[in-house]
């Protein structure tokens, strides 16, 4: 029967071309917009993940309770062993260690006094390690305004605005003053290797980035880290997997009351991102619902027009003894076939658009002064596996619904009027 219906659809292009075109457009738009929203919203989530939360983050329980204060006295110790254990238990993740610290940056003048000071917003990353991927992840190299990345111990990047304000040149020395993990005063001289734009005023005015080995020595945090961040090697955040991973990890320490045991947090459990993630997910559903509704109305109208055109056909078929219910069902089967064909075409077109926007993206460099660590200059869509089938929902449902509504007219068709129309 399907072969017969397919022959009829392909043979009579007037009844299939327009609905297929409408469905193709609707499905393609649904997929494109869903993919684009996922990409843009995903970028915001990605920004949080890159700078703050990771896809998952491991901190000591005590540190996690006070994390906004950067309490390095409560940081994780024995991190090397922890890293190995995490890599073994969750090999799909890349694990990196970071230390955040506050304090003061003091810039000496020629007489040994101070030419200026500013609060330090310090970040210690594995800059000297190629495997860590921190440079690409944090967009550091491409955000350097002057100079270059630190390549030796004792070198640092500083916020560009801060450097400009205090006339810091590349190669100048600055002094960091803060507190070690044990509470002692920490003083360290750094040579400025470069300046970087972060993209937020607060960081541009006082941030310093150093290699984590320097921070560990300076802050008495040997084999320590404030945070261990995990990133999916695929690059995309998997909410379900992250939650499961966190639960598995935390179960190991469920019976341990020590405040310094490590605890893992998925991205959604940090920085109030839970509601944001739910919001992003609901956007796709919203697009689907909108397009189902809109296309149903259009296809209902198309079906009505088609029904009018096939008025005689239905009449003859009824006269030949075919049941009204059977005719109605064949109409629905035709709608399913046309809907499926349109959905396939629409999915291909939509995915092609998503792929283009993901790989090439929309370059907004012209709208931004410079690329910064916070804001990449290219907006991208994001392909997720549900885009393969999400288009079929509006494609099929709309077509079937439209034809179901328009096909009701079949039940009002009477053979008597057919003979009159045929003038038999």
């Amino acid at each position: 029967m399907i072969k017969f219906l397919l022959k009829g659809i392909l043979g009579d292009k007037t009844r299939s071309v327009l609905p297929v075109v409408i469905i193709t457009i609707g499905v393609a738009l649904t997929i494109l917009l869903s993919g684009y929203m996922r990409g843009v919203m995903g970028d915001m989530i990605d920004q949080n993940a890159r700078f703050e939360t990771g896809h998952v983050k491991v901190m000591s329980r005590a540190y996690a309770e006070n994390k906004d204060q950067l309490p390095n006295d409560l940081a994780l110790l024995g991190v090397e062993e922890l890293n190995e254990s995490l890599a073994k238990q969750f090999p799909e993740m890349q694990w990196v260690n970071r230390i955040k610290f506050g304090g003061l940056i003091d810039v000496p003048d020629d007489q040994g006094g101070s030419k200026g000071q500013g609060p330090a917003a310090g970040m210690a990353l594995a800059l000297f390690s190629n495997e860590s991927g921190e440079d690409e992840r944090m967009n550091i190299s491409s955000s350097i305004v002057k100079g270059s990345m630190p390549s030796h111990s004792g070198e640092t990047l500083v916020g560009h605005d801060f450097a400009e304000k205090l006339h810091i040149q590349i190669g100048d020395e600055v002094t960091y003053m803060g507190t070690t993990m044990n509470g002692s005063m920490a003083f360290e001289n750094f040579v400025v290797s470069g300046t970087v734009k972060f993209g937020t005023t607060a960081l541009d005015r006082g941030a310093i980035i150093v290699d984590i080995t320097d921070a560990r020595r300076m802050l008495d945090m040997e084999d320590g880290a404030g945070e261990v961040l995990g990133y999916f090697k695929s690059g995309a955040y998997d909410d379900v997997r992250a939650i499961a991973m966190s639960e598995t990890f935390n179960d190991q320490y469920a019976d341990d009351s020590d405040e310094f045991v490590p605890e893992m947090f998925p991205l959604r459990a940090q920085n109030n991102l839970s509601s944001f993630l739910d919001y992003v997910d609901s956007f796709s559903t919203l697009f689907v619902v909108i397009f189902v509704f809109a296309m149903s109305i259009v296809l209902w109208n198309t079906g009505l027009l088609g029904g009018l055109r096939r008025y005689q056909e239905f009449g003859i078929r009824l006269a030949l003894g075919e049941e009204k219910g059977h005719i109605y069902r064949t109409l629905i089967y035709e709608a399913i076939l046309i809907g499926a064909i349109g959905s396939v075409f629409g999915t291909i077109v939509g995915l092609g658009g998503v792929y283009y926007l993901q790989v090439v993206g929309i370059d907004i460099t012209g709208m931004l002064d410079d690329s910064t660590m916070m804001m990449p200059s290219v907006l991208r869509a994001s392909f997720t596996s549900d885009l393969l089938y999400i288009g079929f929902i509006p494609g099929l449902v709309a077509m079937v619904l439209g034809n179901a509504l328009s096909g009701i007219g079949i039940y009002r068709r009477e053979t008597a009027t057919l003979f009159k129309e045929l003038e038999v």
């Binding site: 040994g112 507190t179 070690t180 044990n182 509470g183 002692s184 005063m185 003083f187 310094f260």
Partner: protein
């Protein structure tokens, strides 16, 4: 004669029950401050993971000049602080730099303790900074104490309000509470090991507790104190930081 004696007894009783807060403060200031002091002390900082002891030697002149050199442990050894009026400099031997602290940095904790730089800098006499009144009596660690309520009369007082429990016999604070302008309790100090130093009483152990932080606070233990010794002027100069 009998009448005069009776009046004297009555006055004495009246004063005993309604002591002059100003006079109490003056006696407290006499015990706690002097023209010059040299103090060797240990500061025991109780952290969440461990406790550490920082040893220092401090010189002070009046209420606007002080010099402190940290002697132990190795991490702190050689670090020096100089205060002149409202300015504070810190010298670090590790970086060979002298850094001036000002503004909000003075509210930061000293070496992870419950004391801020402001706490350490404020050596002024209480009578100069606060209006006081006696609001009650209480027993503290077996000692009878007056409770004094102090309200700042200068704009730059570190704490807008203080409550002091003063030993009635020795005129030494046994307990102090420091409050912000909002009325929020900020710090609590418990003073003990009161000893006689010449003609003064001095508490040789003080526990500072930052109420807004968890933990046991910081113990400040005076190992030795010299009252009104001769201190050369060069000590209170920036040059002495690098010596």
């Amino acid at each position: 004669m009998k009448l005069a004696f009776a009046i004297l007894i009555l006055c004495s009783a009246f004063l005993q029950t309604n002591p002059d807060a100003g006079k109490i403060l003056e006696k407290v200031d006499y015990n706690m401050t002097s023209d010059t002091q040299i103090v060797e002390s240990d500061m025991v900082i109780h952290g969440r993971r461990n406790s550490r002891t920082v040893t220092s030697k401090g010189y002070s002149k009046g209420n606007d000049q002080s010099f402190t050199e940290y002697l132990a442990p190795d991490r702190e050894k050689g670090t020096k602080m100089l205060r002149m009026d409202d300015r504070l400099w810190i010298y670090s031997p590790a970086t060979d730099r002298t850094i001036q602290l000002s503004g909000h940095m003075l509210k930061q904790s000293v070496m992870g303790s419950d004391l801020s730089f402001e706490d350490m800098m404020d050596d002024r006499k209480l009578i100069e900074m606060y209006d006081a009144k006696v609001i009650g009596e209480e027993e503290v660690e077996g000692r009878s104490a007056w409770i004094l309520d102090l309200v700042a009369k200068v704009d730059d007082a570190t704490y807008e309000r203080q409550k002091l429990w003063i030993d009635q016999e020795r005129f030494v604070p046994l307990k102090e509470e420091m409050y912000a302008k909002s009325g929020q309790l900020l710090k609590r100090v418990t003073l003990s090991n009161v000893e006689r130093i010449g003609d003064r009483w001095f508490p040789k152990k003080m526990n500072y507790k930052d109420v807004l932080k968890d933990g046991e606070g910081t113990d400040f233990i005076v190992k030795s104190i010299q009252i009104n010794p001769e201190i050369p002027d060069y000590i209170f100069s920036k040059a002495s930081l690098k010596k």
